[in-house]
Symmetry: C2
Subunit: 231 residues, 2 copies
């Protein structure tokens, strides 16, 4: 956020970046659980105790890594949304990011590290990803291009006020003014995207889905049709 003022601050930020880079490399090889302060220090040819000048300890490094992962994904999602229009842009960017950073994806959407609480600041970048994803939906609704789908009318009758209440936070924060069924479709799409990407990244498609990229693209297209946002 704030630019480093003094030269000392600048070199300090640089060292911090190098520590995080080493930690990121370790993460890719050994996973989050095995990430140790000592191994990072070894990679940097530093004494383990020296790292304490830059981070409060091992957990602080992991927290920074997690926050960095969230921010990186959010950046990629927003850049994709800003660069091109269309419903499928952000899902594709999410998958690309996950395939390029599988361990970071695991940090966000995989099993939580036990006894460890994710930093609260992840809420903001998490919302940025969701915001970029639903932007085409909101735009379509604003332009009157949002099409009511068969599923919507099917489930409309059965819709309970309780469900509306349960999804109120998402409705208000992400898609204000948009019909309730559309919000539900969008949240279901979020589940589908996270599930599809996780299943692929975590290696569950072996001998099952022979062309994951094609399947993903078709799935995204299906989701768009079910939401009613035209391509």
């Amino acid at each position: 956020m704030s630019a480093p003022r003094s030269a000392r601050d600048r070199v300090r930020a640089e060292v911090r970046g190098e520590i995080l880079a080493a930690a990121r490399a370790r993460l890719a090889q050994e996973g989050a659980a095995a990430l140790s302060l000592r191994s990072i220090a070894r990679d940097l040819d530093m004494a383990p105790s020296a790292l304490y000048r830059y981070f409060d300890g091992r957990d602080a490094i992991l927290s920074a890594l997690i926050l960095e992962a969230y921010t990186s994904l959010a950046d990629q999602a927003e850049a994709a949304a800003a660069g091109a229009a269309g419903w499928s842009v952000v899902p594709g960017a999410m998958r690309d990011w996950a395939l390029a950073h599988p361990h970071e994806w695991g940090l966000i959407f995989g099993s939580p590290v036990p006894g460890y609480r994710a930093p609260e600041e992840t809420v903001v970048p998490y919302a940025r990803v969701a915001g970029a994803l639903v932007r085409p939906i909101a735009a379509a609704h604003r332009d009157g291009r949002l099409r009511a789908t068969e599923t919507d009318t099917d489930t409309d009758a059965a819709r309970s006020p309780a469900l509306d209440a349960a999804l109120a936070p998402v409705h208000d924060a992400l898609l204000p003014g948009v019909p309730g069924p559309t919000v539900q479709r969008a949240l279901e799409a979020w589940c589908t995207l996270v599930g599809a990407i996780s299943l692929e990244v975590f290696g569950h498609w072996r001998n099952t889905v022979l062309d994951p990229a094609l399947f993903f693209d078709c799935t995204v297209e299906t989701l768009g049709a079910q939401i009613g946002v035209v391509a």
Copy 2:
């Protein structure tokens, strides 16, 4: 599978079971990464070295635990499918199992443990879960109750032979004779279910979906409508 013959084999199997039970309890409290052979031995009031008579080492215990998790999920899914008809039965059983065994769910669908290969025998119980899930779809198709949906006809035109080829393993093994779009819908539903359950179990619904159970039920209902299998 084969019943233990001698009394020695029987007590041996019993001790193995106790070791796995202790490991399961540890897993539930500390997660997979922190599961250590020594902690298991401590819980059983045994010397750590004694466990080597029953398992080759820590990784072997983890492997057994993973296989056990797959089998447990498959048992629950099949029991649910056998006990009641309807599309929503198996998804609900999967979610119930995941909420009751969050760490085991993470073992199956979470970030894979790096440097560790899941046992090959997990393929069978994994297929059992999928088989139980799609059973109502196959039954509906057999009885002519499978309804063509709007999404199917929408995407039918754009369907490529490449996609059919990519999904051929699933098509042949799980839903032979069923239309291609239905197979695609089923696989998309698998992604949605895994995604929805993972997001809930891994704690991503905080301040987002206020009633996860209700949202899940509605999502399952939506998926059934989109597949065209009547409730």
